[in-house]
């Protein structure tokens, strides 16, 4: 056995190995200051914008923002770094704690941004946040718990029941206003041999959250919704059971093939008219041909209880800056520029996305009736929420998808599902 032969030679080898590790350790400590010093020198003029917008036009639009920014701020050296959205989301926590982090990043308003701010990872942007232009709601969404502005909103979109005008005409149906009309519409569509509701879940189980959010907002209102997401109310509350009860009426009209379809396959099916209605955001049609885009329309999520003030989902996107940036002046200068109507119009002009500029003084560069309808709907809403995971976090979203996908399968087991959901949610919250 080898360990019995350990003698002088083995001892020396062991000593050598020990020496080696301590040398490595010394090496590690001696090289530490080098990158840190070059990083936090505060004299850096480089400005990295890390973006999760991977589409060709959005990339060009981001680059155009940096080019335009450079014209008025020639002292900085901006560069764009694009990362696929899922990888971006996975990297961001590590990114913000790096010794040399990206200076400015794309992100969204909501709980996660507040969390980052709470950990001291975000740059205070209060000094560059415009005093007018943003609605009080958007300004509140851009602040952390202490009221510091940590987020610069650039654009938002809305959620609605999307359909194709030409298909609705062909089937001879029209937009419903109330839940009962909506169920009647689904029934009549099904009678015509059309699958009424698209809900592809294979790679987009998070879409179930849009149904839960809206049903909860329409039945119980935004205040209860927020309290529930914050853990102040329980999922075992009868009010949540009511949400599932109402949803159960719509379940027979979901496309039964939806569970096996990816989001892209589901949207293709909707585009072809095999599914009639898709609860989604306007990004649904972003990749579709121009003649389809012109045919896209939506109606507001039907009213269930007229006594509940109408709230809408309007997810808000924008920029954050890292607290550890080597170029805080440059980062703030860029955030200041990004908040201007000119910058927001420039971005939307080139990216051609169906988004509404967040600054109220900015105009849509490609105004369409669809965009105007969305803007009007959000503006008329008594309250605005972000989206389930933006208002809570991704762990809470996982608890939701587990519960709701099971509910779609077994609508009769609502009580057990809600109990499990409450326990999953509490576990994810860490208590």
């Amino acid at each position: 056995m080898s360990h019995l032969t350990v003698n002088r030679r083995g001892f020396l080898a062991g000593l050598g190995a020990l020496g080696m590790t301590s040398a490595l350790g010394a090496c590690a400590t001696s090289t530490t200051p080098a990158p840190a010093a070059s990083g936090s020198g505060a004299t850096s003029k480089a400005l990295t914008l890390k973006s999760r917008e991977t589409s060709d036009k959005s990339r060009k639009a981001m680059q155009a923002l940096l080019d335009e920014f450079l014209k008025t701020n020639p002292q900085y050296k901006p560069s764009l770094n694009t990362m696929e959205a899922a990888a971006f989301q996975q990297q961001i926590r590590a990114d913000l704690t790096l010794a040399t982090p990206p200076d400015v990043l794309t992100w969204f308003a909501g709980e996660i941004a507040s969390d980052f701010a709470g950990q001291g990872l975000l740059l205070d942007a209060t000094s560059v946040f415009p005093t007018d232009g943003y609605s009080p709601q958007f300004a509140a969404l851009s602040a952390d718990a202490s009221g510091k502005k940590i987020f610069i909103p650039t654009n938002y979109y809305w959620w609605g029941m999307f359909y194709r005008t030409s298909h609705f005409e062909k089937w001879g149906v029209s937009e419903p206003k109330t839940w009962d009309e909506f169920i009647a519409l689904c029934k009549s569509l099904k009678g015509k041999g059309v699958s009424p509701l698209a809900l592809p879940l294979a790679d987009a189980a998070w879409l179930t959250a849009s149904w839960f959010d809206y049903l909860n907002l329409r039945i119980n209102g935004a205040a209860f919704h927020r309290a529930l997401l914050a853990g102040q109310e329980s999922y075992e509350d009868p009010r949540v059971a009511k949400v599932l009860d109402v949803w159960r009426e719509a379940l027979p009209y979901l496309d039964p093939a939806g569970k096996g379809l990816s989001f892209q396959e589901g949207s293709a099916k909707w585009q072809q008219g095999k599914d009639a209605i898709f609860l989604c955001g306007p990004f649904l049609a972003d990749a579709m041909p121009a003649e389809v885009k012109a045919d896209v329309n939506f109606f507001q999520f039907p009213i269930i209880d007229p006594a509940v003030p109408v709230a809408e989902e309007a997810p808000l996107d924008g920029f954050i800056a890292s607290a550890h940036t080597a170029n805080p002046d440059g980062a703030l200068a860029f955030l200041k520029y990004a908040a201007t109507p000119a910058a927001q119009e420039l971005y939307l002009k080139i990216s051609e996305n169906t988004l509404i500029p967040a600054n109220g003084q900015a105009k849509s560069p490609h105004p369409t009736p669809l965009l105007e309808k969305g803007r009007t709907m959000v503006a008329a809403a008594a309250d605005v929420t972000q989206f389930f995971n933006r208002d809570s976090n991704d762990d809470q979203l996982n608890a939701l998808t587990t519960a709701l996908v099971r509910f779609i399968d077994k609508p009769g087991e609502a009580a057990g599902i809600l109990k499990q959901w409450q326990s999953d949610s509490a576990k994810a919250r860490g208590n």
Binding site: H3, T31, P35, T54, A86, P289
Partner: protein
């Protein structure tokens, strides 16, 4: 009469079964090839399973226009050093562990193997912080060092098994003729290990070339990203141009296919490593 009939039937059965299996195996590849030649609107309007309305090389042009050459170049810049360094270091370590009475050699080998059983996800954050401390974060050198290190244990283990099969008489004869330890390694052991090295080399090439996890953990700069995250970056948040991604995947597969075809002779003989013992 029946046995001969059965005997005549058997190759037919075999070929039909194997032919079906081969077709099943090739079907996804054919689907990727066809998808890469279609237009996005055609795919979106009629679905993946439909017959194409027309074929075009546009998606290849788009994929290359999106910087795929650079990404493939980055992949090679990372993969080739990793493969060379891994094989040199692993063969040296394996020779030392297989032919020299190093204390704790068994423990060392088991430790290397045990290290391989750790899921990479567990190491991501510590390794990220380490590379940052050493100043090699977001650099190709950092990725090369890490990828070499994570693969080393496995390659050493396999080569160790192979080298133990080399007869002692050959190395002893070389020593009697005056070869140094390094001389024996270089002139006797390495040439005899060539099939195993070639097999492991092509494996290492494939694994390193196809690595995604370490690349997106240790690299941030878009211009340094290898081809796997570059293809990932072609996916949109909601929509992906399937045709462009298919084209990019076909292009990205070319280097591995070339390496594999070049070394397949060794690869098949390499699979028999240690089987005759």
């Amino acid at each position: 009469m029946t046995p001969t009939k059965a005997a005549r039937l058997r190759p037919w059965l075999f070929h039909t079964a194997m032919g079906t299996l081969a077709a099943l195996w090739l079907l996804p590849l054919a689907l990727v090839l066809v998808t890469s030649l279609r237009t996005f609107d055609d795919l979106a309007a009629r679905g993946l399973a439909s017959l194409p309305t027309g074929l075009t090389f546009d998606s290849y042009r788009q994929a290359l226009g999106a910087g795929e050459w650079r990404a493939i170049g980055n992949s090679l810049l990372i993969t080739v050093p990793v493969v060379v360094a891994t094989l040199v270091l692993a063969s040296m370590a394996a020779y030392a562990l297989a032919r020299h009475r190093i204390p704790f050699r068994r423990t060392l080998l088991l430790l290397m193997l045990a290290g391989n059983l750790l899921p990479a996800q567990l190491l991501l954050i510590p390794v990220l912080k380490l590379t940052e401390r050493f100043g090699v974060f977001d650099s190709r050198i950092g990725v090369i060092v890490v990828l070499t290190a994570v693969g080393l244990g496995f390659y050493t283990f396999v080569l160790h098994g192979f080298m133990r099969g080399i007869p002692h008489e050959i190395t002893q004869a070389a020593k009697i003729d005056g070869a140094t330890t390094f001389g024996v390694y270089l002139r006797i052991v390495l040439p005899l290990t060539k099939p195993a090295l070639a097999a492991l080399g092509s494996l290492a090439f494939t694994w390193t070339f196809n690595d995604l996890l370490w690349a997106i953990t240790l690299l941030r700069d878009e211009t340094k990203l290898p081809v796997t995250p570059a293809i990932l970056g072609m996916q949109g948040q909601y929509f992906s141009s399937w045709n462009v991604i298919a084209a990019a995947t076909v292009l990205a597969a070319i280097p591995t296919v070339i390496v594999f075809l070049r070394f397949q002779r060794y690869f098949i003989s390499g699979l028999l490593i240690g089987s005759a013992k």
